[in-house]
Amino acid sequence: MQFKSMVISNVEVSPNYFRMRMTAPQELSSSVPGQFVMLKVNDAIDPLLRRPFGLFDVGSFVPEYAGCGAQVYCEILYKVVGKGTKLLSTLHHGDLVDLLVPLGKGFQMGPAGEEKVLVGGGVGLAPLYYLAKQLKERGEKVRLFAGGRNRDDVLCITEFERLGVETYVATDDGTLGERGFVTQVLERHLASGMRIFACGPTPMLNAVAKMSEKHGVPCQVSMEAYMACGVGACLGCVMKGANHSDETPDYRCVCKDGPVFDSFELQWS
């Protein structure tokens, strides 16, 4: 649905990374982790298109005004990379943004009892927090493997820990956790009876998908693509399905068929 949302807060949680909380429609309380929002940063024609962001958190709050009942909020965690996110970072409490929510297919949490393994790189941690929250509510055992270039890229680890998630961190330069790729740390821990949920840069997802296949561990990945409509109409956001070839094309819409896919559904390089 389309919703005019009010910014509640918008704070820099690490250099260039912001966490923005907004009012949300009631419908969002039944959203699934991994689903995303398309946000129109302003009313101008530049930037023209909406920007997609994963749901970092959904919850309810009681506004400070007298007589208000509980209302739903949603949060996004974003990195400033260009024009749209730069503008987004200047918004304050009380500003309005236009949201399409909730879009796409989210994570399927799988049967209880398995160990749930979350793998995130940089801002890819965003949808994993909402997922971790729901998994912990179900009483599941959850481990998080978080990676980034340096310590500033590894976000909100304490929030995960507060949920009771066991966390493992790796950075390229070793400024936080182990030095190296988070996928190397992950590989040491992989065993059957686990289920992987991954979100982050494509090379990382590529490595995780391969590893999950090797170890026979089911794996879901949340993909990113450049989007225009977010609802499956423009076909701008497609990626190659597992059986894609030039003769038998198999393109999947990231916005509508995803952004979360079973890793075996896609073609990996």
Binding site: I45, R50, A233
Partner: protein
């Protein structure tokens, strides 16, 4: 005052208002059903259909540019048979005319797709795309050479009894020449414009942004070009025209009608605001109310120069 009369008739197709959705920007209709009332708009135009399903181009396929966007989707579509089996039943139940947009990789294919659509209930008319800049064969060849355009339009005309709309490319030196060729060949109406060929470069990587290198520019950035072309063609050709290009609000749409359009299509605007087509129709009506105009038809071609 009574509510203004918003209805228009275009090549025999009666529409409750002049606002249509543009091909390729509204999927097959159902994608937008949660965001607007499909029965509040004038007509829906489907994604361009070909004889066989088409995969489209490699990614990245879209990129934003100031005031517009470039796309190189490459006419990905489900193919005419799947459209008839899987998409048309839904569309049939919506009380809004459906225009099937079609194209062929060869001259014969244009004829074949048109004939498969002929006689189908639920398809009010066809719009022939001779103007896609993103496919190597077909498309643009027919859209830039008046002789080839004449050939393809007369062939389609022989293969259909439905109202025939031809969609023109702006990527020509003289759009009036193309319009006349299509009119002579039997078109019942003309749509203009399709996207303008453009390009975006990634300076860091020193490579084109789009996998296809070039793409079609749409959005507010192209509106002045589209308006000019509608106005030029309206003066030269007697056919009803559909104005397309960067229409974001009711005022944009009405400007196209003043320039000579009987109806308009809303494209890129639906990406920013999925209810755009419905909102634009309402804004047009409000303009008429505010200015005491009782029929939207009185504005068609009413530009004073």
């Amino acid at each position: 005052m009574q509510r203004p009369d918003m209805s228009v008739v275009l090549a025999g197709i009666t529409m409750r208002n002049p606002v249509m959705t543009a091909s390729g920007t509204f999927g097959y209709g159902a994608e937008f059903a949660d965001y607007l009332d499909l029965e509040s708009i004038g007509a829906m135009v489907t994604k361009g259909l070909s004889l066989k399903p088409k995969a489209g181009n490699p990614t990245p396929r879209i990129v934003e540019t100031p005031g517009g966007m470039l796309n190189a989707i490459g006419l990905q579509n489900v193919g005419i048979d799947t459209f008839i089996e899987q998409k048309l039943p839904y569309l049939k139940d919506v009380n809004t005319p459906v225009i099937a947009n079609l194209y062929g990789n060869t001259l014969e294919e244009y004829g074949e797709v048109a004939s498969r659509l002929d006689g189908l209930a639920g398809v009010a008319g066809i719009e022939v795309n001779i103007s896609c800049p993103n496919v190597k064969q077909g498309g643009i060849v027919f859209g830039t050479d008046p002789g080839a355009a004449k050939e393809v339009v007369s062939l389609v005309k022989r293969n259909t009894s439905k109202p025939l709309i031809v969609k023109l490319s702006p990527n020509v030196t003289d759009v009036v020449l193309m319009a006349k060729a299509c009119a002579d060949a039997g078109a019942d109406a003309l749509s203009l414009i399709n996207t303008l060929t453009g390009m975006a470069i990634d300076l860091e990587r020193r490579r084109p942004v789009l996998a296809n290198v070039t793409g079609g520019l749409s959005g507010p950035a192209i509106k002045p070009v589209a308006l000019r072309m509608v106005w030029q063609v309206a003066k030269a050709v007697k056919l009803p025209l559909i104005g397309i290009g960067g229409i974001m609000n009711g005022r944009d749409a009405l400007e196209f009608m003043l320039a000579g359009a009987t109806a308009v299509q809303v494209g890129t605007a639906s990406f920013l605001d999925p209810s755009a087509a419905q909102r634009i129709a309402q804004e047009m009506e409000q303009y008429l109310v505010d200015n005491g105009i009782d029929s939207v038809r009185s504005l068609i071609g009413a530009l004073e120069v």
